[in-house]
């Protein structure tokens, strides 16, 4: 059973969003980290890069596979979690605690297209 947190928004490609004012904190879900297995590298954008909802902004690499990270929102990257550069395993340890990027949203209405916890739970079949 994967951990799902109430109050967050979820994408079909297994990213979560926590809204802090106009900023979206983005990470991957516990389900995603379990599917990937031991994560060996997190490819992240740079601060000030623009990201677009539905398009890739980076990638996760594990022993098993590499998987694109898809941005759930559009906007400008204001912070990246630099700790993941040297310790990508943090994503395995706690996927919700260890966010990946923070985005200053250009269109907060995009959040409406995302799932809530209950819908995401159904999405992953748990």
């Amino acid at each position: 059973m994967s951990k799902i947190i109430e109050g967050l928004k979820y994408s079909e490609s297994h990213e979560w969003v926590k809204v802090e004012g106009g900023v979206a904190v983005v990470g991957v879900t516990d389900f995603a980290q379990k599917e990937m297995g031991d994560i060996t590298y997190v490819d992240m954008p740079d601060v000030d890069d623009e990201v677009t909802a539905g398009e890739e902004f980076g990638a996760l690499e594990s022993v098993k596979a590499a998987s694109d990270l898809i941005s759930p929102v559009s906007g400008k990257v204001v912070e990246v979690n630099e700790a993941l550069d040297d310790t990508p395993e943090l994503v395995n340890e706690d996927a919700f605690e260890n966010w990946i990027i923070k985005v200053e949203m250009s269109d907060p209405s995009e959040l409406d297209a995302l799932m809530d916890a209950a819908a995401y739970k159904e999405h992953i079949g748990e």
Partner: protein
């Protein structure tokens, strides 16, 4: 197996010389200017001849290859490499060649290229081949550059996307990305084939083409291939054939007849040249008649690719001839289906039906899990196989299944070898049901047990000096 893990540098003794040069009868060359000289001498091993010979012989005995045992590594086509190929490649007329020789002195080699061009065109239904690419992925990139060139020549610059099935070899999207194209994924159906209904809405004026492997990575023939190629052509796109899985089709079906416009072949797979351990490979690219003009004028490798590999493949084609090339395809399919049917009582077969040269199990049916013990995984099965002297199959690919175990026996194994493998796979399944720990502690006999792949990926040690 005798364990041996020394590095040649560790055998080095300062000042030891393992050669003697004749006396120099020529005047000494002028000294190099200082700015061209190294500041520090290169760190080269200094060893006697017997020590060098023992070192590499010992290392070679740590190796496993098709010459030492059964190697059912799915997707890699580890068929036996006939020794006659080596004899031909060792002929002095070929070994004495130099790529910068005057054309008048290289006519034999040029004829090999011409004859191979004709032979591969006949086998695949393409019009012409380029032999420059040195491997499969290199061929993919070259082929996609041809695709891009075709659209550019027509002034159609909007076509920037390539469709790739979700079951594709990882090299397909990677090659498309390197070529500057955007990747669009198309889903597979429950039966493992491309979902034609999901493909249709993707086809518009932005599609440069579609890449496919047929049979696909599950070893299944794409039965709707004609419809797929017609749809993509109708939308103005080109079809790219990834030749990695050409073996079962050899002499039976031709990619050109299925509607493919561009393709590569892996001579080191289908045409029996040595591979594994990183090469050398050869990935010639073939194109249909309407694309011959787009074949690269620009060279994509030095000196027309790996000539020695192309030569070996030519020997293979001549030795087999048309009749026996067909048997390659047929026997590779027979061997794979025989193993699949014999083992599906012990291993989960996610998609029933006839496969081509390879197939995928999704782990053990009875993995032995109960309250106290975890079940045995595909990794455990693969590790246990090593104890019985078999190379492990490909594992955890394709990603469509969680416990994928991909077996490709090829056409060159005897029934006795295949039966021995089936017996061992049954024995391993029985062990797992009884006590999965036997598998989880495997390999029991190999010099290296279970390397920590995660630590290796997170902190790769890339220099021998850092390894000790």
């Amino acid at each position: 197996m005798k364990y041996y893990d020394k590095l040649v540098f560790e055998l080095s003794q300062k000042g030891r010389v393992g050669y003697s040069l004749p006396v120099n009868r020529f005047p000494a060359a002028p000294e190099l200017p200082n700015e061209l000289k190294r500041e520090v001498s290169p760190d080269l091993p200094e060893i006697s001849e017997p020590d060098v010979v023992r070192h590499y012989t010992n290392l070679s005995q740590m190796n496993f290859g098709v010459d030492t045992g059964f190697y059912p590594l799915g997707s890699c086509t580890m068929k036996y490499n006939p020794k006659v190929n080596e004899e031909v490649a060792a002929l002095p007329g070929f070994t004495g060649l130099h790529p910068l020789m005057h054309a008048g002195l290289t006519k034999g080699a040029l004829k090999v290229y011409q004859e191979m061009d004709k032979a591969l065109a006949a086998i695949t239904g393409m019009a012409a081949f380029t032999f420059d690419p040195c491997a499969g992925a290199h061929g993919e990139l070259t082929g996609l550059m041809v695709m891009r060139q075709y659209h550019m020549n027509r002034g159609d610059l909007a076509r920037t996307k390539v469709i790739v099935p979700d079951s594709a070899h990882g090299t397909n999207p990677a090659s498309a990305a390197v070529c500057g194209l955007e990747i669009v994924e198309v889903k597979s159906l429950e039966n493992g084939r491309v979902d034609v209904e999901a493909l249709k809405p993707l086809l518009d004026g932005t599609i440069a083409g579609m890449m496919m492997t047929n049979p696909n990575t599950l070893g299944l023939f794409e039965t709707q291939i004609k419809e797929i190629t017609e749809l993509v052509h109708a939308a103005g796109g080109l079809m790219y054939y990834d030749g990695a899985n050409m073996n079962p089709l050899m002499g039976v079906v031709r990619p050109g007849d299925m509607g493919f416009d561009i393709m590569h072949l892996n001579l080191h797979k289908t045409f029996s040249t040595p591979h594994g351990g990183g090469g050398p490979g050869s990935g010639p690219v073939g194109v249909a008649a309407h694309l011959v003009d787009c074949l690269p004028d620009l060279r994509v490798s030095g000196f027309h690719g790996n000539f020695g590999v192309i030569l070996r493949a030519y020997a293979y084609i001549l030795m087999l001839g048309k009749q026996n090339l067909k048997k390659v395809g047929q026997y590779s399919v027979l061997s794979a289906n025989y193993i699949k049917e014999c083992l599906k009582d012990a291993y989960k077969l996610p998609i029933e039906g006839v496969c081509k040269h390879e197939f995928v199990f999704d782990g053990l049916i009875n993995d032995g899990a109960h309250d106290e013990v975890h079940g045995a995984t595909t990794l455990d099965v693969a590790k246990r196989l090593l104890d019985f002297g078999f190379h492990a199959p490909t594992i955890y690919f394709p990603l469509l299944f969680h416990q994928a175990l991909m077996i490709e026996p090829t056409e060159t194994e005897s029934k006795e070898t295949i039966d021995a493998f089936i017996d061992v796979m049954h024995k391993i399944a029985a062990e797992a049901a009884e006590d999965p720990r036997i598998l989880q502690d495997a390999p029991h006999g190999a010099p290296i047990k279970r390397p920590d792949e995660t630590a290796a990926a997170r902190n790769p040690i890339l220099k021998f000096k850092d390894a000790r």
